[in-house]
Amino acid sequence: MLIFMNWIIIISVHELAVTERILEIALKYARAADAVRVTDVNIVVGRLSGIVDESVQFYWDLLSRDTLCRGSQLHFKRVAAQMQCLDCQHTYLLEDELTPCPQCNSVRLKTLAGEEFYLDSIEIENSAAQ
């Protein structure tokens, strides 16, 4: 029998991979809008997406050095986790801990918000506006 044993080596770190992706999207839209410089990048992060921490700004500064995004500031808008009870329809926000419905103690829940993770907008200086 043939035995396969191959090695694939890929260097990447979680936040680094995410930051590269943010930069890619930001640059695509910046170029399309004829930006001469990107000043701000607005990202929406749901509390349940669990993806981003402060290291993203660190990677951002490194990765964007030679691009239109050089020196731009990342802004994270955190979206609270909003749950709806499927038994009594009560809606509530999750704090730090996962909790059952505070009204009827049901564990049958639906997530209404908190799973977001997207690039909302960028702020640019535009050559056409000169």
Binding site: W7, I9, A26, T39, L48, G50, E123
Partner: protein, 225 residues
């Protein structure tokens, strides 16, 4: 110079998700049923794979993709001893597999000779949740010594998965593991999640899991032919 706001609203994981989708197409076309196994280190990912291979010895051709953060082949070597095709993906320190890594892994496997592809993700309860790989079923293994609080502490990994395995149930008499408390947490995150309590050590409960796998493999083949 006046500032201009450019609206975007693009999901940051879209690129990964698209590669994941093409991975899924690829395994589908080859009639392969693919699963992504996630768990913390030591929960029993490799043990479960070995038990699964043992129990499905007759007739099910299994391939394995092993994700590891370091170039150690301990897990892959164990699979190799079973004679099954295995690809090791070394993530170079990264905490998860992503769709591109799996895409490259698929190219190294004889997909037309595989019925069941098991992807062992990197041992981690946080990062793998964010990266779709392109599989039929996402599986999480929770083991009883980790404690009954894991769904409360790591909610994201339990969301959107298809199967939960509770491993090391043979240790329950020695642990303060409140099964109701654990399952209540899971229920809040993923209602009516298909769950298999089992022990890879004693083999108890493994047949229910492999029985489910056999059904999935069979109906997956039907869809292809």
């Amino acid at each position: 110079m006046p500032n201009q706001k450019v609206p975007i609203v693009e999901k940051i994981m879209d690129a990964n998700d698209q590669v994941a989708e093409s991975n899924l197409q690829r395994v589908r076309q080859n009639g392969v049923f693919a699963i992504n196994v996630m768990a913390s280190p030591g929960a029993g990912k490799t043990s479960l794979i070995l038990q699964t291979i043992r129990q499905l010895e007759d007739g099910v051709r299994i391939g394995v993709i092993e994700g590891d953060t370091a170039p150690v082949t301990i897990d892959a070597d164990k699979i190799l001893t079973t004679g099954r095709p295995v690809v090791q993906i070394n993530t170079g320190g990264a905490c998860h597999l992503d769709a591109v890594m799996v895409n490259r892994g698929l190219s190294e496997l004889p997909l037309d000779e595989i019925d069941l592809l098991i992807i062992e993700n990197v041992g981690n309860l946080v990062c793998p949740a964010g990266f779709k790989l392109g599989v039929h079923a996402n599986v999480v293994i929770a083991s009883t010594p980790e404690g009954d609080d894991k769904p409360y502490k790591y909610p994201n990994i339990y969301r959107g998965i298809d199967v939960l395995i509770i491993n090391k149930i043979d240790l329950l008499p020695h642990l303060k593991f409140d099964m109701d408390q654990f399952r209540r947490g899971v229920e809040m995150l993923n209602p009516r999640l298909l769950t298999f309590p089992l022990s890879c050590e004693t083999g108890e409960g493994v047949d229910a899991w492999t029985g489910w796998l056999k059904e999935q493999i069979a109906s997956n083949k039907e869809r292809v032919t």
